[in-house]
C-alpha cells in the first residue's frame, strides 16, 4: 500500500492508504476530522471543501495519495470553539446556517475567495461560492456573512445590526 505524508491542520501524519481512499475519508475516518462532511457523489455540493496547499479543493474529488506531501487545512484548523475564526463568527452573527451541513465548505470557499478579492461585491461572493450548495438558507444570509467576515478580516470595525 502506498505510504503518504500529509500535514492536516498543522499536524504531520504518515499513513498507509489504499489508492482508492478519498481525501475526505482519510480526514474523517482515519484522522477523526469529522468537521468536513460529504454531501454528494459527483463533486457538485462543495460540503467537503478544504484548503489543499492553500487553495480550495473538494476533498471528495481528491485521492488521499494525490495529497501526498501536501498541506491540508480543514474547518477544524481555522479556529476553536472559544476562539472562532472571523468568518466562522460572521456566519454565526448573520444566521448564515440552518442545518449547518454546507457550512464548513461555505466557510472554506469564502476564505479562498478573499485571498484573491479581499473586498468582494455581492456578485463576486455569489460567483466565489458557486460550487457550494445550501439546501436551507436561500443564500442571502450567507452572502451577508461573507461580506461581514471580509470586513472583519481586513480589520475594519463592523457594526452589529
Amino acid at each position: 500500500m502506498p505510504r503518504i505524508t500529509v500535514t492536516v491542520d498543522g499536524v504531520r501524519y504518515e499513513e498507509e492508504v489504499e489508492p482508492r481512499l478519498l481525501l475526505v475519508h482519510l480526514l474523517r475516518d482515519r484522522l477523526g476530522k469529522t468537521g468536513t462532511p460529504v454531501g454528494c457523489d459527483t463533486g457538485n455540493c462543495g460540503a467537503c471543501t478544504v484548503m489543499l496547499d492553500g487553495r480550495s479543493a473538494k476533498s471528495c474529488s481528491v485521492l488521499a495519495v494525490q495529497a501526498d506531501e501536501c498541506d491540508v487545512v480543514t474547518i477544524e484548523g481555522l479556529g476553536r470553539a472559544a476562539e472562532l475564526h472571523p468568518m466562522q463568527k460572521a456566519f454565526h452573527t448573520e444566521h448564515a446556517l440552518q442545518c449547518g451541513y454546507c457550512t464548513p465548505g461555505m466557510i472554506m470557499a469564502a476564505i479562498d475567495l478573499l485571498r484573491d478579492d479581499p473586498d468582494p461585491s455581492d456578485e463576486a461572493i455569489r460567483a466565489g461560492l458557486e460550487g457550494n450548495l445550501c439546501r436551507c438558507t436561500g443564500y442571502c444570509n450567507i452572502v451577508r456573512a461573507v461580506r461581514r467576515g471580509a470586513r472583519e478580516m481586513s480589520g475594519e470595525e463592523v457594526r452589529t445590526s
Partner: protein, 294 residues
C-alpha cells in the same frame, strides 16, 4: 460511494509515464485533475485496473507564447489558464470559456488537457478548440503526433487518443487583429454544466461578417463545429439596421442564425429536449455573434 480498487502509479517523468502506460494497455487510465474521473469512479461508472497520475510529471504544465500560437500544457489547471496574461491577451476565447467552467474549487484542480481529453460534449473547452482550429499534441511509446481539433472529438467521451497516449498540450492559434470572440452559455443556476453553449470567433470587415467560426457545446454525442451557420453568416451585417435597411424589421443576422442547429443531433435529457436545444443553439449563436462582433 467508494471507488472499486485500482493500482496507483505516479511516474516522475514523461518517459516513465509512456512506458508504464504502454505496458498497461487498455487497463490503465490517466489521472490528471481527477475532477471528471473521480466522480466516475465513485459512481462506479468506470473500473480501471490502474490509474497513472500525471500530477507530478514535469514539463506538462504552463502557458507559452510561441509567436503565431499559444501552447497550453495539458496539466495546466483551469485556474492557471485564467490567471495567464498570455491567454487573456492572445487567445481570449479560451479565457472566456474557462471562466464559465465549474466553480473555483474544481478549477483549482481540473486541467485544460483533462477537459479536452475527456471529450465530453457538455464540456466548454472542446467547442473553443474546434472554433479556433487548435492542434493537439500527443505522445506515446511510439513517438509524438499532432491531431487537428476537427479530428480529435470522435464520439461521446471518445477522443482520438490511443489507449495510453498522453496529451502533452494544445496549440491555440492566435487569430490576430480584426477578430472578435465570445462564449455564450446557457445553464441552470445551481449547476455550471452547459445545457447548450456556443463558441464564436468572427472577423468583421466593412460592416459585415467576413468569416465566422462556430463551435457548439452539448449539441450532439461529440462537440461539433456548426459549418452550415458559418456559411450562412458570411457577408451578413452583425449590427441590426445594417443589411436590414432603414426601418426594416428583418434582421439578417437572426435569419442566418436559424441554421445554427443544422445537421446536429442534440441529446434529450431532464434539462432539455432536442427541439429546445436546437432553439437554444439558434438563439445563443445569435447572441454570441452579436457580442463577438461588438
Amino acid at each position: 460511494m467508494i471507488p472499486a480498487a485500482f493500482d496507483y502509479i505516479r511516474p516522475a517523468s514523461l518517459d516513465e509515464a509512456c512506458r508504464v502506460l504502454g505496458d498497461a494497455g487498455d487497463e490503465a487510465k490517466i489521472l490528471a485533475g481527477g475532477q471528471s474521473l473521480l466522480p466516475l469512479l465513485r459512481l462506479r461508472l468506470a473500473y480501471p485496473a490502474a490509474l497513472v497520475d500525471l500530477g507530478r510529471v514535469p514539463g506538462l504544465r504552463g502557458v507559452e507564447d510561441r509567436g503565431d500560437h499559444v501552447f497550453i500544457g495539458a496539466l495546466t489547471t483551469h485556474d492557471e489558464v485564467l490567471r495567464s496574461a498570455v491567454v487573456r491577451e492572445h487567445v481570449p476565447l479560451v479565457a472566456l470559456a474557462t471562466a464559465t467552467v465549474a466553480d473555483p474549487a474544481v478549477r483549482h484542480r481540473g486541467t485544460f488537457g483533462g477537459s479536452l481529453a475527456h471529450a465530453d460534449p457538455a464540456g466548454d473547452l472542446p467547442a473553443v478548440a474546434l472554433a479556433l482550429d487548435c492542434v493537439f499534441v500527443a505522445r506515446s511509446g511510439e513517438g509524438e503526433r499532432e491531431i487537428p481539433a476537427a479530428e480529435f472529438f470522435v464520439d461521446y467521451l471518445e477522443p482520438a487518443l490511443h489507449p495510453g497516449e498522453v496529451l502533452l498540450g494544445v496549440r491555440v492559434p492566435k487569430l490576430g487583429a480584426g477578430w472578435g470572440f465570445h462564449y455564450e452559455k446557457f445553464h441552470r443556476t445551481a449547476q455550471a454544466w452547459a445545457v447548450v453553449g456556443v463558441a464564436a470567433a468572427v472577423r468583421v470587415e466593412g460592416g459585415s461578417l467576413e468569416e465566422a467560426r462556430i463551435g457548439l457545446t452539448n449539441m450532439g454525442p461529440a462537440p461539433v463545429r456548426a459549418r452550415a451557420v458559418e456559411t450562412a453568416l458570411r457577408g451578413v451585417a452583425p449590427a441590426p439596421g445594417g443589411n436590414g435597411g432603414a426601418g426594416g424589421s428583418r434582421d439578417p443576422l437572426r435569419d442566418a442564425c436559424g441554421e445554427a442547429a443544422e445537421g446536429t443531433a442534440p441529446p434529450a435529457d431532464l434539462h432539455a429536449g432536442q427541439d429546445y436545444r436546437r432553439h437554444l443553439a439558434r438563439v445563443l449563436t445569435y447572441r454570441a455573434v452579436r457580442a463577438a462582433s461588438a
